[in-house]
């Protein structure tokens, strides 16, 4: 592949990298630039990158420039990340920064840098590249959380994210170095083959230790137990647009990369008839999934702050995703991928609705939302539909996504996990009702009607429509199947 060809393959990454630099320079060059202009540049770049990603979905597979891997799985989730980052950017542009536009350009730049990190995190078999992407996404998130430094919560959340993030990524780096020692290569596929050999000769500890260390790294990014402590506080402290990025783009990227790592690393062993040796892994993951689901939904029950509620809810959803991962096989991974796509779309809508409602009511407390569903029926009804998808009720895509996960878990012999998931779904229903109920109650106070925030309304209604349209689940299933097939270790 010539250098020019490689550039064509890496067009989305190139657009983002250049675009981020343009955003940074925009305010310097055009002194009179309006606050929204850098956001518009960012949005354009994300749209361009998404266009090329969409093209790339059909291009097949290639190793580009040695370390970058282009395949269906990577490109699909890169597209998901780019679109969810665009949603976060729309919220950011609709938001107002109290003292002038301070921090606007930085937010846009950091969002784009984070997306670029996610691209490299998702598109590689190379552990070096993977770690760089992981750190790039993480660094952007730490800074984004603290970007509204004039708010006390924000600075505190930034420090929390940084400390937990640095600790977990340090642990993960240690795990990666052990894997390098184990496999003699940084390429996960080669490490996978070597690992299968090591496992077959009965050395389990050599694989178990890096596995646990990697779990710590991804555990932070996905906020599953026992690495979830940061999530509620950080979600609470960050602004709603940043929360959207955290809950969707960052989480989806981490989750999809986790799938790739497990597929490349352990699947070779599963193929080689090492199911029994790997059984403890399944149990560990299943136990984490159960604990995460239960704790997340239970804690979400009594939250009064909208951001905190979304934080715990996002923890719980990570647990559901882990059900599919814990099955450590093709069908489980397919279900997990499908769930991830549906979760992303649902969560984009819910966070956008939360943004709209909190800007209308002027507060993040649940009780301040009273009556908003009556005055803004489009957003109110859409939010109800999106919450139904989060719970997993028909007629929404969330129903099939959850159903598929539970069926696969049942088939995989994890019946108890299905029970826990069912219980957790009931809890989800309860907190979803707690969120939706005040919307349609009589309002006590009259609110001044501000700007109509139509892009945000459109985002909420669009996400709700998408969730309903995908009740016809075949396209999602096809995408998930193709993406897992492209990991090709099954």
């Amino acid at each position: 592949m010539s250098a020019l060809d490689s550039l064509l393959w890496l067009m989305p990454e190139a657009i983002l990298a250049l675009g981020a630099c343009v955003v940074l320079a925009w305010d310097l060059v055009f002194k009179k630039a309006r606050p929204w202009e850098s956001g518009a540049v960012g949005l354009t770049c994300l749209a361009g990158a998404s266009f090329f990603l969409f093209q790339r979905l059909g291009w097949g597979e290639a190793d580009v420039l040695g370390m970058v891997r282009v395949d269906f799985h990577g490109t699909l989730f890169q597209l998901a990340v780019a679109l969810s980052a665009a949603a976060a950017l729309i919220l950011e542009m609709a938001d107002r920064h109290p003292p002038g536009r301070e921090g606007r350009t930085e937010t846009v730049f950091l969002l784009m840098a984070g997306v670029l990190g996610a691209f490299f995190l998702l598109g590689t078999w190379n552990l070096m590249m993977l770690y760089l992407g992981f750190e790039g996404l993480g660094l952007a998130v730490y800074a984004l959380v603290a970007v509204r430094k004039w708010e006390k919560d924000s600075a505190e959340a930034g420090v929390k994210a940084l400390v937990y993030g640095a600790l977990s990524s340090g642990l993960m780096l240690y795990g990666i170095s052990l894997l390098y020692g184990l496999g003699g290569s940084l390429d996960l596929r080669e490490i996978g083959l070597e690992t299968a050999r090591v496992l077959a000769s009965g050395h389990v500890v050599e694989v178990a230790v890096p596995f646990l260390l990697l779990l710590a790294g991804f555990g932070f990014k996905l906020a599953f137990l026992p690495f979830h402590f940061w999530a509620p506080d950080v979600y609470q402290g960050s602004s709603t647009p940043v929360l959207s990025f955290l809950a969707v783009a960052s989480k989806v990227a981490g989750a999809a990369a986790f799938l790739r790592v497990l597929a490349g690393w352990l699947a070779a062993g599963l193929d080689g008839g090492l199911g029994e040796v790997l059984a403890p892994t399944i149990w560990i993951l299943a136990a984490i999934a159960a604990a995460t689901m239960l704790l997340g939904s239970l804690a979400a029950l009594k939250q009064k702050n909208l951001h905190r509620l979304l934080g715990w809810s996002s923890v719980a959803q990570g647990g559901f995703f882990l059900i599919g991962v814990a099955l450590l096989g093709r069908y489980g991974f397919e279900a997990a991928s499908a769930y991830l796509l549906v979760y992303g779309l649902t969560m984009i809508g819910i966070v956008a609705a939360a943004f709209f409602l909190s800007r209308k009511s002027g507060g993040l407390q649940l009780r301040t939302l009273r009556g908003l569903g009556r005055t803004h029926p489009w957003v109110g009804v859409s939010l109800v539909i999106l919450l139904a998808s989060l719970v997993g009720l028909p007629p929404t895509a969330g129903f099939f996504a959850k159903w598929l996960l539970l069926v696969r878990a049942w088939e995989g012999g994890l019946g108890w996990l299905v029970m826990v998931a069912g219980l957790s779904t009931i809890l989800t229903l309860v907190y979803a009702l707690r969120l939706a109920r005040p919307l349609f109650l009589e309002s006590e106070t009259d609110r001044p009607s501000g700007s109509n925030l139509w892009p945000v309304q459109a985002l909420v209604v669009g996400a709700a429509a998408g969730v309903v349209a995908l009740f016809h689940f075949t396209p999602v299933l096809d995408l998930a199947r193709k993406s897992v097939e492209s990991l090709r270790f099954f």
Partner: protein, 171 residues
Amino acid sequence: MTGEVLAFSLFSAMAVGGAGLALFHRSAIHSAFALLASFLGVAGLYLNLGADFLAVTQVLLYAGGILVLYLFGLMLVPPEGEAPRPGRRALALVLAAAPVAIFLIAFLARSSWGDPSRLPEPEGTVRGIGLALLTPDGWLVPFEYASILLLAALVGAVHLARRSAPKDDSP
């Protein structure tokens, strides 16, 4: 051979002597400069072993970066009140670290190191590393991406550290 031994003795004296001076000297600033000598000594030892890249990195990172950070810290935050008598505390530290040192020396003495004359001549590593970093099929993408990662970290740090803009900037 004698040149090598001479260089080794010189650099190790620098490294160990600098570290000792840093521990026992009364003034924190002088200690920091003694540490500089120690870092340079270690860099010299690396150079002596043929690890030229490691030596340059040692000078750049430790002597050029971390030590300057120490000095800034020391000069910006002057020590308050009576300085603790360094002698006794340093002695306690040395005593606490002694078992580790004894263990390491015993461990090193037990290992067999083979015949030094059979070792290959060290070759420079800088050229190889430079080529690997900039070859398209090598480490080019991570290398270039790392610069954007650092740029993001820099933007975040500058934004957080910068004083807030005046209020009249608001629309």
